[in-house]
């Protein structure tokens, strides 16, 4: 009896299995029953994962690299991309830091050193990474092995900028050499610049007419190279103005620029032996709103009718408005800026224009001080070096000397 029961159960079980197998292979019965299709196989996971501190950065950066998954091949649809996950411990929890498309094997996990930032990433702290190979069905994926610990840290020296260091050292050496040369009394030749020659003439004209000189330093901050050059020119102009006892008006856009300009003019009046003639109101702050500043300077031009307007420094959209109003007021106008987009406006509306680099040269030309002359000479030699490098690089590009060309590819960060 027991044997009969066992055979019956075995037959029942065998019948159930065979009927289940028949259901899998047969088309789904039209009975509304739920049919579970098997999940697609996950893609091949990433192996040989690597993570290391991002080089030449200020910290909070880790570079994760990996060879592509075995399924990440042309024509395969098993891999959709890679997700990079990070955790503070090997056990997790792992949080996704970013994704990269198929075919790529590098991810820069760039966090923030700001403690209140949601992206905060502390330096010198252990992190663990894994790369997840994602298939088109995002629920199907394959994780790599966990790699770590890896720590991020900032570097004091950015090796990408070695070419910049070399150029700085070369330029500094040249500048020191020529400054010493000028200090020893060497006659350093600088070709005449029409715009600069006109400055003395314009100051003389203002003196004869009994009208003031308007000096505009532009919209740059005290840190702009053009503004710094303009301070030197202002020093020279104000010294002449003090000697000739002509009026000077310097409306300023930036309060720091105003402070430096006041110091410059004050020192020039002192040099000219006329400290009593200096008045702080000559150099005044207007506003830091671009067009309000322009409106104020335009009003000054038509009310004070300066004999000469000098625009030296950083200028933007206001350049033509200022220069046109000055021309309307009948003033002689001398302009200089390194803002390439504004030079055309000065060229058409001013009597003399210093183009870009000439503005820097003007400060040395007017001052004739050894430091400025030496710097200008060093700049000239740097330009000669550029010309030579341009010719050599031109040849390199044509003859395929890739190493030489790559020497000049300095990343911005």
């Amino acid at each position: 009896m027991k044997e009969i029961l066992m055979v019956f159960l075995a037959l029942l079980l065998a019948g159930g299995i065979s009927s289940a197998g028949a259901q899998e292979s047969a088309p789904p019965p039209d009975t509304g029953t739920l049919v579970v299709t098997p999940a697609p196989a996950p893609p091949a996971p990433v192996t040989n994962l690597n993570a290391k501190d991002k080089p030449n950065d200020h910290g909070a950066g880790v570079v994760v690299t990996w060879p592509p998954s075995a399924d990440d091949v042309v024509g395969s649809t098993k891999v959709f991309g890679y997700a990079i996950l990070r955790a503070a411990t090997p056990e997790g929890p792992f949080l996704e830091r970013g994704r990269v498309p198929i075919g790529e094997g590098v991810f820069e996990d760039q966090g923030s050193l700001d403690e209140v930032s949601p992206d905060y990433m502390a330096d010198h702290v252990d992190y663990y990474y894994k790369v997840r190979v994602i298939s088109p069905d995002t629920t199907v994926y394959a994780d790599s092995e966990i790699i770590g610990p890896v720590q991020s840290s900032g570097q004091w020296f950015n090796t990408n900028k070695v070419p910049v260091l070399i150029f700085v050292l070369c330029f500094t050496t040249l500048a020191i050499f020529f400054i010493n040369h000028a200090r020893r009394g060497a006659n350093l030749f600088i070709r005449p610049l029409a715009g600069i020659e006109a400055v003395d003439e314009a100051i003389g004209r203002a003196t004869e007419m009994g009208r003031p000189i308007l000096y505009v330093l532009g919209l740059g901050t005290a840190s702009e190279i053009a503004t710094i050059a303009s301070f030197t020119i202002l020093g020279r102009v104000s010294k002449k103005v003090a000697e000739y006892q002509t009026g000077l008006i310097v409306p300023c856009y930036d309060p720091i620029v105003m402070t430096v300009a006041q110091e410059t003019v004050k020192a020039s009046y002192l040099d000219a032996g006329r400290p009593d003639a200096y008045n702080d109101d000559m150099v005044y702050f207007v506003t830091q709103s671009q067009f309000a500043y322009v409106a104020a300077v335009n009003g000054t031009m038509l009310r004070e009718l300066p004999a000469t307007n000098i625009y030296m420094g950083k200028f933007f959209a206001e350049s033509l408005i200022l220069a046109e109003t000055g021309a309307l007021a009948g003033s002689i106008q001398i302009a200089g800026t390194d803002e390439v987009a504004q030079i055309p406006f000065f060229v058409v509306a001013c009597d003399y224009t210093l183009i870009g680099e000439e503005l820097y040269a003007a400060s040395a030309y007017l001052g004739r001080e050894p430091v400025l002359l030496g710097s200008l000479k060093a700049q000239d030699y740097a330009k000669a070096a550029i010309m030579i490098l341009a010719v050599v690089g031109f040849l390199a590009a044509n003859f395929g000397w890739v190493d030489f060309v790559n020497l000049f590819n300095v990343p911005s960060n």
């Binding site: 309000a292 390439v340 330009k383």
Partner: protein
């Protein structure tokens, strides 16, 4: 009363009447859109004031006049005060206080970040700058100025050296001949398209010669005579052609600014443009 003064007063009266009429008309127009009374009055005033200030600034095209002076002084005064407030709230409250004091951060309702002693350096430099107001200690402000000018000049040296010097040099490394496939292919595929071989080769030549001759023009240590003179003249031509193109491009931008202002006057104010 002189004739000129009487004329000025009549014009002023006319402007005031026009302003009030415009305000009322604009108020009515805004209220017709279903806006509450207070908002209609306010918006009507703002739009009318902006339109009259715009016209006052435009009046400078005729000549300097009291209306231009009014708009100018209003503009300068408001903007100076505005930027002072922006400086206080963004720099002092926004950047400085969250790094030095939790109590002050709570007072100004800004999130405290973390204490950073280095933030006292700009504070001290700022105080030194303000010492200019003192006759006795005014000289101390030069330390701040020296710091600002010196450090930023040093930082800019590196920035410009990379962007203007090294990048400029490397961008001049261009091939003389681009993707050369022979004379026959060159003429059979001849095209003036921007991505055509002829234009790309021409562009590279212009870049190289333009940079070289431009640099010669800015070389100050030698008289521009002989080869230098010729190269310098070519450099000036290159510069002037560039400036011409830049001029036209920028003028287009300025015209768009004018169009924007006219759109405000004819649309927002007069309602002539939908």
């Amino acid at each position: 009363m002189s004739t000129a003064r009487r004329t000025s007063l009549i014009i002023l009266a006319a402007v005031i009447i026009l302003f009030l009429v415009s305000w009322f008309a604009k108020f009515s127009a805004v209220q017709n859109t279903g806006a509450p009374f207070g908002i209609s009055v306010r918006d009507g005033f703002y739009i009318t004031l902006a339109a009259f200030c715009s016209l006052a600034i435009f009046s400078f095209l005729y000549k300097d006049n009291p209306y231009y002076k009014f708009a100018e002084h209003l503009f300068v005064g408001i903007s100076a005060a505005y930027w002072m407030c922006v400086g206080f709230w963004s720099t002092f409250v926004g950047n400085f206080i969250p790094k030095v004091s939790r109590t002050l951060s709570d007072f100004f309702e800004v999130p405290f970040k973390s204490f950073d002693i280095f933030y006292f350096i700009p504070l001290i430099l700022g105080i030194l700058l303000l010492l200019r107001l003192s006759n006795k200690y005014g000289w101390l402000s030069r330390w701040s100025l020296a710091f600002i000018v010196g450090t930023t000049a040093g930082l800019n040296l590196i920035r410009y050296l990379r962007s203007d010097f090294i990048s400029q040099v490397s961008n001049t490394f261009v091939p003389l001949v681009v993707d050369w496939k022979g004379i026959d292919a060159f003429f059979s595929d001849f095209s003036l398209a921007a991505n055509g071989q002829f234009i790309m080769i021409l562009g590279n030549w212009v870049v190289f010669i333009g940079v070289f001759c431009g640099l010669v023009y800015f070389f100050f240590s030698k008289e521009h005579k002989g080869f230098f003179g010729t190269a310098s003249r070519v450099g000036v031509w290159v510069l002037m052609i560039t400036f011409g193109a830049s001029f036209g491009y920028t003028v287009m931008g300025r015209v768009s600014l004018l169009v924007g202002r006219l759109t405000f006057l004819f649309g927002d104010w007069l309602g002539l443009i939908d």
